[in-house]
């Protein structure tokens, strides 16, 4: 075998375990789901094999699904904006701090050591009827009866922000770290105030990180079903809850498949748009 051929093969040899796993665990199940989505669930509860468009017709035409999809995207968007507003200053602070950067980053990563479900449930101990916040207010005499603060859209967003903020901070941090601090000094020396040089130099140069963090927050937020279950009320279902409901509760795999592909298509389009304009490389930087 020629040297060129050997060199050309080498990356594929190294990639093959990962490619094998991704194919087996992601693409094959996805293909099943695609096939399922064209089957039909009959009144008897059995799935009828074939090529039926009923599930897709229902998923695409029913206003119920549409409204929940829109609401899901709205919640994801609000979460992303809140994460950006809260995460950017934090990332800036870490990137510009001297010496203790490693400790700050470790603190940022610390929540990842605890299960996301546990972290979500911890809000019940804080905001619940007998939670810390209510107890404190009652002890202080501000209120006489505990207030129900949980189980609404706001607490769903709160839970999502809690879950997703580190992703935003990390992504913005990485892009800020890559910016030469001389650039701000240069801008200042040319007459820009600190704020002007931030707007003119640092912010534009960190936008790729902000966009990468935003994409991650949005996609993960829009795909969540645990947060609405734990922290949402009966009317706060998000789109992934519908999929869960269809497949786990109603055992209607064909409809659940069509719904999940619908969500995948919406979020996939978003990723494609992102990739078109910013490229996936930025996202990988933030994750690594």
């Amino acid at each position: 075998m020629s040297v060129e051929a050997r060199e050309a093969r080498q990356p594929w040899i190294l990639l093959s375990p990962a490619l094998g796993a991704v194919t087996l665990l992601l693409f094959v199940p996805l293909a099943f789901i695609l096939v399922y989505s064209f089957w039909l669930r009959t009144a008897t509860g059995a799935d009828q094999v074939g090529f039926y468009l009923e599930n897709w017709r229902e998923a695409l035409s029913d206003a119920f699904y549409r409204d929940i999809l829109i609401n899901t995207l709205k919640i994801a968007a609000i979460t992303t904006i809140v994460c950006a507003l809260m995460g950017y200053p934090a990332a800036y602070f870490i990137a510009r701090s001297k010496g203790n950067k490693a400790i700050l980053l470790l603190l940022l990563m610390l929540p990842f050591w605890i299960s996301y479900i546990i972290r979500t449930m911890s809000w019940i101990n804080i905001l619940g009827v007998s939670g810390a916040f209510n107890s404190a207010l009652m002890t202080l005499g501000v209120i006489s009866e505990p207030i129900q603060m949980l189980y609404n859209e706001t607490t769903v967003i709160l839970g999502l922000v809690h879950f997703l903020l580190p992703f935003m901070v990390l992504n913005v941090f990485v892009s800020l770290e890559g910016i030469d601090t001389n650039l701000e000094d240069a801008a200042n020396s040319l007459g820009a105030t600190k704020w002007q040089s931030f707007l003119q130099v640092t912010l534009p140069l960190s936008l790729p990180g902000l966009a990468a963090g935003g994409l991650l927050c949005f996609v993960l937020g829009a795909g969540t079903y645990i947060t609405p279950i734990v922290l949402g009320g009966p009317t706060d279902a998000m789109f992934a809850n519908l999929v869960f409901e269809a497949i786990i509760t109603q055992l209607n795999w064909p409809l659940g498949s069509a719904l999940s592909l619908m969500l995948l298509a919406v979020l996939g389009t978003l990723v494609l748009i992102y990739n078109r304009y910013l490229g996936m490389a930025q996202l990988m930087k933030g994750l690594g």
Binding site: A186, N188, S189, G191, A192, Q196, P204, L205
Partner: protein, 360 residues
Amino acid sequence: MSAVTLTDIVKRFGDFTAVHRMSLEIPEGSFLTLLGPSGCGKTTTLRMVAGLLDPTEGEIQIKGKHVTNVPIHKRNLGIVFQNYALFPHKTVADNVAFGLRYRDVSAEEAKRRVNEALELVQLPNVGDRYPKQLSGGQQQRIALARAIVIEPDVLLLDEPLSALDANLREDMRVELKRIQHRIGVTTIFVTHDQSEALAMSDQIVVMSDGRVEQVGPPEEVYNTPSSEFVANFLGASNILPATAGQASGDTLPIEVGGFGSIAIPRDRAPALNGSGKARLVVRAEKLLLTRPGDAPAGSISVDGTVETVDYQGQAVRYFVRVGDTQLQAINMIDGRPFNEGDSVAVSLRPRDCAALPEGT
């Protein structure tokens, strides 16, 4: 009036003193170089003038105005950074125009001045490109254009040539000096490279360990070093223990082991007060090796043996043994260089020597 005045500047970082009580006056329009090894405090000093660092003690004046409490963006300085620090997301023209946005300059005027600045650095046609599309040398010129387009009171250059490769560096050296001369801006240049300092400066400030070792024009600093540090840092020097005698007229006799008494000009030993222990400084290129007996008339000559030959093309650096000391001589090649082991005459002219007090 001096363009920049530093008065008793001290900079401490915790327990570490980066700059010890430094005072300096930089005349309007002059080119001053802060020269020294890394960690000598030269960049710290520059950053204090720039306003990027606050002095722990002392006063800085620019054009007669106290600026110690004036933030950097109000100081009207042009800074050129070692790594260029061009804004990667802006075109070359936008980079150069950046400082004009914050000054009362109309769009038309700004455009004209940007074009002028690009002409001055000899890159008139790159305004639409992005910094990444330019070579390192070109980026450095753009950084210079960006710094001078705002007509700064002082131009600060922080090792601007050290990221360039050797040939380009020498071209840029000439270019930088030409531009500075043409616009007449007071310039502070920071470098660790003695040849840059000697070639470009009106005044050199040699620094070491946060202290000023010597201030003077290049010839003076080079020919009459005021300390062993300066003698060693600028070029290769031989420093020999000596004893100074009593001055008579314009000359001062210096007794050096092996060479006997050398009558050096009085003005080549300004730091020497009276007789006593001293150091004789002879530049390596002022020490001439010849065949035994061929030493030129009027010079003092001793016998030596060549130990090491370091061939450099147009010149050769010899390490030559004289008695129990090793001397360094850099000679232009005339015919064939000497070989290791050759017996030679090592000669020097008294007027090429300088003397220092001991322990400086």
